[in-house]
């Protein structure tokens, strides 16, 4: 099951790429989820390889935290949409300076 690690890395890479490329906030957010999932995969792989329960624990907790994060993140996105009526990242530079 060694190759799973490389799968995880590739997924992480794709997630980063997507984040950098896409202009839509929600799709960017989805790429973050993709990155989190890839990390989960790597944790579980190592847990299986090293015969340790820690990896499973981490995966579990990451998932819980990701859930909370998504909830709040989407709420923020909705607020931004209310403010600027757009989800284009290139237009969100209010914090400039």
């Amino acid at each position: 099951m060694d190759f799973q690690i490389y799968v995880g890395i590739i997924l992480f890479l794709i997630g980063t790429l997507g984040f950098v490329i896409r202009r839509n906030i929600i799709v960017c957010f989805m790429c973050i989820e993709l990155m989190l999932n890839s990390v989960n995969l790597i944790f579980v792989t190592y847990s299986h390889q090293l015969k340790s329960a820690i990896g499973l624990m981490y995966a579990f907790i990451i998932m819980a935290v990701a859930a909370a994060e998504v909830a709040i993140g989407l709420a923020i996105i909705i607020m931004i949409h209310r403010l600027k009526n757009t989800v284009d990242m290139d237009q969100l530079n209010i914090l400039k300076g």
Binding site: T16, F19, V20, C28, M89, D90, L92, N93, I94, L95, K96, G97
Partner: protein
Amino acid sequence: MFNYIAAIPLFPAIGALINGILGTRFPKSLVHIIALTAIGSSFALSVKAFFQLLSLPPDQRIIEVTLYQWMASGDFSIDVAFLLDPLSAVMLLVVTGVGFLIHIYSTGYMHHDPSYSRFFTYLNLFVFAMLLLVMGNNFLMMFVGWEGVGLCSYLLIGFWFDDHANASAGKKAFVVNRVGDFGFILGMFMIFIIFGSLKYSDVFSRAESLLPYGGIMATAITLLLFVGATGKSAQIPLYVWLPDAMAGPTPVSALIHAATMVTAGVYMIARCNVLYSLAPFSLGVVATIGALTAIFAASMGLVQRDIKKVLAYSTISQLGYMFLGVGVAAYSAGVFHLMTHAFFKALLFLGAGSVIHAMGGEQDIMNMGGLRKHIPKTFLTFLIGTLAIAGTPGLAGFFSKDEILWQAFSSPHGHPLLWAVAAVAAGMTSFYMFRLTFLTFFGKERMDEHTKHHIHESPNSMVIPLMILAILSVLGGYVGVPEALGGSNHFHHFLDPIIKKVGKAEPHHYSHALEYGLMLTSVAIAVVGFILAYTMYIRRPDLPERLANNFQGLYKLLFNKYYVDEIYEFIFVKGCKNLGTLLWLKFDVPVIDGIVNGVGKVTMYLGENVRKIQTGYIQHYIVGILIGVVVVLGIFIF
């Protein structure tokens, strides 16, 4: 332990403190009572100390009193300690005695001055500093006193500072002094490096073993110390401040610039006689400069018109004699002349002050004349002073000056040429002093009617010190009558213990006949000077003007003091100013201001540009994170 010796400098210090802080609130009588009590007590204690010293056998006449340890750092430690030995006892008596008389005189002279208390504060402060100088038992204490008297000189010269010229004169005195002090400090450093201590007892006892005879160390130390002496005691080339210092009140000129401060250099050399005896080259330098100064200053005094300026040049010239004396290793002769000079020069200055007081402020002798009928007491004392300084046999100046001349000729470090120069200067001294006397007190009365009306004899507070000093000028020489004339030269024997015999030079043994012959020669020269002055100013008063017209170039040269002040101004003052301006414009403004301003500019520039990183776009921030991660991972991988 608190010995009464420590009280000697303490009283003037307290007097200065009280008068300084509270003096303006006191009535004038209280001010001078405090000041006079202070210095009078010091004088009384000095007398007591002198007699205590006399009670001890000659080779044990050293009393050291340590007050406390001033500083200690590593192997360097200095105590505030006082040394009482024959030399310092002589200086003590001179300083406090003449100082006391001058204080009394000042109560009359400065009576109408609004800054009465300030004057007495400074006078007491000066005496305190001078006492530290002569009583300290290590070089640093001497230096503290040295600087202190320089400071008081500045304060007192510029006493009437509302007039800009007076303030400038004070400034000039201080700055020129400072140049000399630099040499003194370097000398002290060298002493410390070689001896590891600044205490006289440590230095002088080991000097012969640590300094090779005639070696470069001894020469360097003594020359550097002498530089300090040229500044303080107004020798060539640092004498230029003394004539200007006449801008101060006359008692100041008497005390500081005649009797005490300017003699500090002579005292210093006498104290360090061991070091100087180990460096014959330095002795030669001292003697030569002393002789040259004597004749140089005397030549300038020949044509001056201000009564105080004549006396100032006379002081410089007489100081030259003292340095000539110590320069031929006749240390006690130099100190002897110091003492007698204090008497008659103080007398002359105070007398001049009396004349100025009588003339309502006039100082130009060409506007005086025939005053002997109006102010007879002043005239009598002034005449005694003049006779003393000219070297009239029997008066104080004769014995001291003659001893110096004899030593200049006969000492192993002496030279007949030195004697000749000094003898000519003696003739000039006699001439210009009698010129001064004749023009002031004899002859036609050249002042205007208004001034003539107001001529009056000075009050007793001024006249009595004059009379006491006149008595001293007459009798003071008898402590030092040389053996050739049958005396036993008590003064020389008194000071003998502090002079260490060094070196291989054998004193020549001249016959007494030679000594008589030289004595007669110097008396003859003095008489010649008197006759010349008498002829030119009493018999044929038109003669001076005709001579001046015939030798115009020489006259102008002498009258303008050889243009030395102008030369110094051009080379040193303008030079320093130009250098300062150049450094300011070329270095200070562009480089230093540039660096400081540059730091500010760089910060602003950085700020304006780094802030552009914050664009507000999240994706840019992610890219930033990625950069960091890539770099760190890269470092770890490689």
